[in-house]
Point group: C2
Chain length 191, copies 2
């Protein structure tokens, strides 16, 4: 079965399998063989398309960021007031496509990966800057010069909720997570 144009399908399957496998294992201790098996291909093919295990991880990470970025952009497009923009960013952070068991576990492990792999760190830094920029933009009209500090608090809180969800045996509760962060936001801007 050497269908022409299989490459993008295979790549996508391998990326998806990587996230699922990291989620299942709860760590980066997954073999290329396991990833490939879940994607329905051989380990050799994974190497053929990505070149190395590191590259597979980076591609998976990038995919998570792309999905999240799209979610944020979509939500922001519907917001008109600063307050709505704030809500949009927070809600996007806990959207069904991102706040999922395997993706949450992958996030946590990408934080670890970022400590070792410059490319992973770079990607994570980009995410941080984007988030901070989005939050600051929405916060400036509401809290003025405090925007920077408030954005840092919101960012840390979102990350913390993710971290704790990774440990919890319970299924992710989007509503509760969103409410917790939005409550914090309210208190920061209403005072």
């Amino acid at each position: 079965m050497a269908r022409s144009g299989a490459e993008p399908i295979r790549r996508a399957a391998i990326v998806k399998a990587t996230i699922q496998e990291i989620g299942r294992a709860g760590s980066l201790d997954v073999t290329v063989a396991q990833i490939a098996a879940r994607a329905g291909v051989s380990a050799a093919l994974a190497h053929h398309y990505f070149g190395s295990k590191e590259a597979i991880f980076v591609a998976a990470f990038r995919h998570v960021l792309i999905v999240y970025g799209a979610e944020v952009r979509g939500a922001l497009a519907l917001a008109s007031t600063p307050r709505e923009r704030l809500e949009a960013v927070v809600r996007a952070s806990f959207s069904p496509s991102s706040f999922r068991r395997d993706t949450i576990s992958a996030w946590l492990n990408f934080y670890v990966l970022a400590q070792t792999m410059p490319e992973a760190r770079r990607l994570l830094s980009i995410y941080h800057r984007r988030l901070r920029s989005n939050l600051c933009h929405a916060l400036r009209p509401l809290v003025g010069a405090r925007a920077g500090r408030v954005a840092d608090g919101i960012g840390a809180l979102i990350d913390g909720v993710y971290l704790r969800q990774a440990l919890s045996p319970a299924a992710p509760d989007r509503a509760a997570a969103t409410a917790l962060v939005l409550d914090h936001v309210s208190r920061e801007i209403d005072a």
Copy 2:
């Protein structure tokens, strides 16, 4: 007996070396040989005392929790009002003995370990329960029934600050971290 009483010294050295080595590597991908070398002993001796690599990790984790627990207890002993107790818990979380580069990195990696190792998960759950209990006890007189939710927010924020510090190339800034969390606390209880 040869060099009577070497065991506790060796155990402590190996535990300390484990934390440092995890901090250096930024991941759990450290070999027993590396840990042992840093501790100034052979890999075989580490196995002799701990039995397995997993057990070494657990001992290191337990040590981090013990140090942190002592810090909290010490700070709480000096506090008399609920407000002071809150501050004590937060300040202890960012005390110099816990909010250090290698320990922060170890924390992050223990979160990952907890996803795989039941014993690590158990220890982390104990820490979470203790923190929540301490916070709730101090919060109840201040915010009544909201104590539980407020404690969850503070806990997530502390974890988030740790997570972000793990990624930051800058040296840990205790003052800034403490201020950020205490500011959040103020807004939660003053409203």
